[in-house]
């Protein structure tokens, strides 16, 4: 059967390869354009509190906010499922609120990344919280932020 089909040589064969290459190129270019437009609208930008305030992130835009959970700031609502806290990078502090089960290592004086958006009232409404996953793992964006347990000072100069 191989011999039969390869006898169909001629100009049309070149044609088929060209069409295939053209289709592949079109698909790839279309894919890249789609990716770029989606990235512009959907990529969540990472901010520390100071950066978020400086950039005046508009309410409702999905971002990631990373910092230390400020000492003494965690307040649980009476319903038991909503928690208010403040995120700080040593330069600025942002009030935040989250409803759900907080990650196991979500604690005061410990790093956390909150995914969500600012409300009109300036409170950050988190839809998801990423905390240190275990003793070794830390969200990569948090690498520069250091906390001194003696003085309770947060240093984000590495950012």
């Amino acid at each position: 059967m191989v011999a039969v089909t390869s006898n169909r040589a001629g100009p049309k064969r070149k044609h088929q390869r060209l069409i295939l290459v053209g289709l592949a190129l079109a698909a790839m270019i279309g894919g890249v354009l789609l990716a770029m437009s989606a990235l512009r609208s959907q990529a969540a930008y990472f901010y520390t509190p100071a950066e978020a305030l400086a950039a005046k992130v508009e309410p409702g835009r999905a971002i990631r906010l990373g910092g230390m959970v400020e000492a003494g700031s965690i307040k649980r609502h009476a319903n038991g499922t909503t928690v208010d806290f403040r995120l700080t990078d040593g330069k600025a502090t942002v009030p935040a609120s989250f409803t759900g089960i907080t990650p196991d290592l979500f604690a005061e004086n410990s790093g956390a990344v909150a995914e969500g958006a600012f409300g009109e009232d300036g409170v950050f409404r988190a839809t998801n919280i990423l905390a240190k996953h275990d003793e070794r793992y830390m969200p990569r964006e948090m690498e520069g932020i250091k906390y001194d347990p003696q003085t309770h000072q947060v240093d984000a100069s590495g950012q």
């Binding site: 088929q16 959907q42 930008y45 089960i101 196991d104 995914e115």
Partner: protein
């Protein structure tokens, strides 16, 4: 002594791989017959030695030899047996050794069992395989020696990350690795075929079992990883678009495309250059995956080796192999003849569409995964997550599903549009019935993506069994059943995903003993919470009685666990599985007044996601067995008739 023996075996295997490469060059480029005689025995010996090194590492973990650095850093003498065993590859060095061992054993298998290739291509393939192995041997011996001694020996090990102490996860990485390795073999075949200019149907038949096997294992690995994340992390999601998940998904997408194009090449002798290209891309994706996971360059829970040296080592290997293969491809592509012709309306054409869409999805995943790296270099932190991936991947997957409805119903080479439409009628009918049923009976508004997902699932399900219509079911070849079952699996998975995202309900509560909560017709009553002690952890355990009406369905005991070595809290969620979904229960933290956080989900038909993946893997396995059996039979027949090349005799 065992550690030294393991290291020696590794060095010896590396030396043999070097020799194998040299002899393959002599045999293929110089036509040296003496060299040719030794290549296959060498490949087998190299595989055995690498396998021995891996076996010795496992022994070191089993006897908890704390004078070996890797064991001390990743194991503990009190750990359950199975996790000591699996701990051998639950770390960077061990997993890389496992990779090399499996790759070399696969090379040995190619040397022993491959029959359909001509001798020169076979030797070139073994040479390419040796070249890949050499890079990984160098990586192990110079950058991550698993047999490194610790002096003085540790008194006790540091334990295995508790998240990894799970039977599913213990066998998840090796499954994926075996898949990656299968793709490395396909890559070697492609390089071999390019070197000897033998890109043809025989080449496609030779790589097909390896691609099928790799694809089955990748499918199982990805599904197992997804199910593990779903029940172990307690967050109720089954896919997070985490870079490590993407790292396993990308080779799978490439392998899926390769599998289909290799079928076209084997059956119809078309898409020659394209198939070779995909074989290169598929292996490139497994290398990129390894690089992303092992370099720690991306944010991920799984990326446990944050080490720039290793990252750059893998990057150099990646550049060398993939760059080399692409250069070879560019130099030789003009010698690859165009294959047979086909019409725009034919099964080949739809398989081209399938390939293009899979490649576009692959590209979109790749861009989303690498984009944060790119912007970081430009000084801006960006995270790309589910909003991006769902928005771009979802719609294209649905288009791909349309191709899956039409493709298997078309004839090879050319078809009539009227006849094709008639054959698609039952699938279109099923889609319409589903659409109307969902719109009429859904108890809530449902997004267009899940809605189309359900509709397409129905169409794909009907279309996938259509090839069996009016056939003699007992004489239908096994690989046809394989195709039907795998395609049906796609429909089942898609239905599960759509149903889960459209119809899940959730309750989040602060529960005191005696409290009851209603969800989806079930009543969950919290009876109490008590402490519980496990072998190497302690926990708080809730007792939740689940009722439907007055009838008790079961008692669920989710736990919040605490491991001491290393100190890590984890969560043991409980899933009660019914025929139509799962009740998912998680115990959160203690609140004041003796109350506890409790999270309850009802996830309708969520199990179909993994059940479908199981069907896909089963279909692949049936196709693999069916193909291998047919090739064997043909080879036997050909030998009986005295032909030199069995496939040619039959073609």
């Amino acid at each position: 002594m065992i550690a030294e023996a393991g290291l020696a075996a590794l060095w010896l295997a590396a030396t043999l791989a070097g020799l194998q490469l040299l002899l393959a060059w002599l045999a293929v480029a110089r036509g040296n017959a003496d060299a040719a005689r030794f290549i296959r025995p060498l490949a087998v010996a190299q595989g055995v030695l690498a396998g021995l090194a891996m076996a010795l590492l496992i022994v070191l973990f089993l006897i908890s030899d704390m004078s070996v650095y890797l064991v001390a850093a990743n194991s503990h003498s009190l750990k359950p047996f199975i996790y000591k065993f699996a701990g051998a590859w639950g770390n960077h060095e061990g997993s890389m050794l496992l990779w090399v061992a499996v790759m070399s054993l696969a090379g040995g298998a190619v040397a022993l069992f491959e029959r359909s290739l001509d001798r020169a291509t076979h030797f070139a393939t073994l040479g390419a395989q040796a070249a890949i192995s050499l890079g990984f041997y160098a990586f192990l011996l110079f950058a991550s020696n698993p047999f490194q001694r610790l002096n003085p020996p540790a008194v006790e090990g540091q334990g295995l990350n508790p998240l990894l102490q799970d039977p599913g996860l213990a066998f998840h990485p090796p499954t994926l690795y075996f898949g990656y390795v299968g793709l490395s073999v396909a890559f070697s075949f492609a390089v071999g075929a390019l070197l000897t200019r033998q890109v043809d149907a025989r080449f496609a038949r030779a790589i097909r079992p390896w691609v099928l096997g790799a694809w089955v294992l990748l499918t199982i690995g990805i599904a197992a990883g997804s199910y593990w994340a779903y029940y172990e992390l307690g967050w109720g999601g089954w896919w997070f678009w985490d870079p490590v998940e993407n790292a396993s998904l990308m080779p799978w997408l490439a392998a899926t495309a390769l599998l289909h194009s290799a079928s076209v090449l084997a059956a119809r002798d078309a898409l020659r250059a394209w198939t070779v290209m995909l074989a290169v891309v598929a292996f490139a994706m497994s290398m990129i995956g390894t690089f992303l996971v092992r370099s720690g360059i991306l944010t991920s829970v799984h990326a446990f080796a944050v080490d720039p040296t290793r990252g750059s080592f893998i990057l150099i290997l990646l550049g060398l192999y993939i760059g080399g293969a692409l250069a070879l491809f560019a130099m030789r592509v003009h010698t690859v003849n165009e294959g047979a012709r086909f019409d725009p309306l034919s099964r080949e054409a739809l398989l081209v569409v399938n390939n293009l869409l899979l490649c576009v999805i692959l590209g979109l995943v790749l861009i989303g995964t690498l984009y944060p790296l790119l912007t970081e270099m430009l000084g801006q932190s960006v995270s790309v997550g589910p909003p991006y991936f769902n928005a771009v991947i979802g719609p294209i997957t649905l288009v791909l599903m349309t191709a899956l409805v039409v493709g298997p119903l078309l004839r090879w080479r050319r078809d009539e549009s009227g006849a094709a439409l008639r054959r698609s009628a039952p699938a279109i009918g099923a889609a319409l019935v589903t659409l109307i049923a969902v719109l009429l009976f859904a108890d809530r508004p449902i997004g267009w993506l899940p809605l189309l997902g359900l509709v397409m699932a129905a169409a794909v399900a009907v279309a996938s069994v259509a090839p069996l219509w009016k056939r003699n079911l007992r004489r239908t070849p096994m690989f046809t059943y394989g195709m039907v079952i795998a395609h049906l699996g796609c429909a089942v998975s898609l239905a599960g995903m759509a149903s889960e995202s459209a119809f899940s309900s959730e309750r989040l509560a602060a529960a005191a003993p005696g409290d009851s909560f209603e969800i989806a017709g079930y009543t969950v009553t919290m009876e109490g919470v008590r402490p519980y002690a496990g072998p190497n952890w302690t926990a708080m355990e809730a007792q939740l009685v689940v009722r439907r009406g007055a009838k008790v369905i079961g008692t669920a005991r989710p736990q919040a666990r605490y491991f001491t070595d290393p100190p890590t809290p984890t969560n043991e969620s409980i899933q009660l599985t019914r025929w139509n979904g799962q009740l998912y229960l998680v115990l959160g933290e203690a609140l004041e007044n003796g109350r506890w956080q409790l999270r309850i989900w009802w996830k309708p038909f969520v199990t179909l996601i993994w059940g479908g993946a199981g069907l896909i893997a089963l279909g692949g396995a049936l196709a693999l067995v069916g193909r291998v059996r047919r090739e064997r039979k043909q080879a036997r027949l050909a030998r009986a008739s005295g032909a030199e090349h069995p496939q040619e005799a039959l073609a």
